[in-house]
């Protein structure tokens, strides 16, 4: 299944659960201070577990950086 993750194409071979996709992306980093949008809708952290991704979904994983 193909999704777009932070603007880049990603093939999901394993689970299509949002939670697992995020965990895999974070690669061991703690999931603090981040937010996630699925197809331009926020998915709160407590829903990551319930959210299955579909073909062509667009996922954004963001956090706060230095800004003015």
């Amino acid at each position: 299944m193909k999704i777009k993750l932070n603007g880049e194409l990603k093939i999901l071979n394993g689970s299509n659960l949002l939670d697992e996709v995020i965990t895999s992306y974070l690669n061991g980093k703690e999931a603090r201070g981040i937010a996630v949008a699925l197809n331009s809708t926020i998915v709160p952290k407590q829903k990551w577990n319930d959210t299955a991704l579909n073909e062509n979904d667009e996922v954004e994983i963001v956090h706060a950086v230095q800004g003015g």
């Binding site: 932070n6 937010a35 331009s40 952290k45 994983i61 963001v62 956090h63 706060a64 230095q66 003015g68």
Partner: protein, 272 residues
């Protein structure tokens, strides 16, 4: 001699606090966190500025390090600033609203510095999109601080809508041109009842003092500090300038006159 802090404590000198929505600030300076030479300098500059609220941006989490997109929250770990996320880089109401919601989720704050840019050469706001985004975010419970033109009509609309403050620009972001149109800022201050924060344009200390003397409630700046040759020192300069300008505003300055007015006594001169 008593220190300024001591003078204030004794009640001889009182500087009013800044209240935005439900928060009260002693410092009237909001500082951006971008474009410092390095995180250490940023932290020292934030300290030196005396600020109590800092701005951050929301960006895609990028797992490659050393790209300037590291988590600011980790840098700040032990600091206790109010965080004001911005929607910098958004060109439509839709993008800005989504960015605001991501910010709320990531940072657990419903405060947002709302930027909707209309043009990447001037970074001036897109008025229509800004109004649209403000309305949506206000309906969604946000505390909205919009970056806007120095346009009294737009500021009035934003205030009437329920924004927590208006943040008219003094000059283009990063231009260091100071307050290009003090008259508009003065008009805005006079016709609006909510806090007016000058956002963008300040280049040096006297710009900040002058803005405060117009009666505005605070100043948001980033480049003037981060881009100075000595950011920490400039941060302190800005802290002092904002305080100086505010105190001067509250002190009731002497009127301007074309001709002179002797300060020394005229009587008792020898030989007279």
């Amino acid at each position: 001699m008593r220190s300024p802090a001591a003078l204030r404590m004794t009640g001889i000198i009182k500087m009013n606090k800044l209240k935005i929505a439900d928060k009260e600030f002693t410092s009237r300076l909001i500082v951006g966190t971008s474009r410092y030479p390095d995180p250490k300098t940023m932290l020292e500059a934030l300290d030196a500025s005396g600020t109590e609220m800092i701005t951050v941006s929301i960006r895609r989490l990028n797992m490659h390090t050393g790209n300037g997109q590291e988590s600011i929250m980790e840098m700040l770990s032990k600091k206790d600033f109010s965080i004001l996320p911005n929607t910098a880089g958004c060109y439509t109401a839709k993008e800005a609203v989504l960015t605001a919601k991501l910010a709320r989720e990531a940072l657990s704050t419903n405060w947002i510095k709302l930027e909707v840019i209309g043009d990447d050469e001037t970074l001036f706001p897109d008025v229509s999109e800004l109004l649209k985004a403000s309305e949506e975010l206000l309906n969604d419970g946000f505390v909205v601080l919009p970056y806007c033109n120095d346009d009294p009509v737009t500021c009035k609309k934003l205030a009437d809508m329920g924004c927590a403050a208006v943040m008219p620009l003094g000059a283009p972001i990063g231009s260091g041109m100071g307050i290009r149109n003090p008259y508009n800022i003065q008009i805005i201050r006079e016709i609006i009842d909510i806090p007016v924060i000058v956002d963008a344009g300040v280049g040096t200390a006297s710009d900040a003092a002058l803005a405060m003397e117009l009666g505005v409630d605070g100043i948001l700046m980033n480049s003037a500090i981060a881009g100075a040759q000595h950011p920490v020192q400039m941060a302190l300069a800005m802290k002092l300038a904002v305080e100086a300008g505010r105190l001067a505003f509250e002190s009731g300055r002497i009127p301007k006159k074309l001709y002179a007015n002797a300060s020394s006594p005229i009587e008792g001169v020898i030989g007279s």
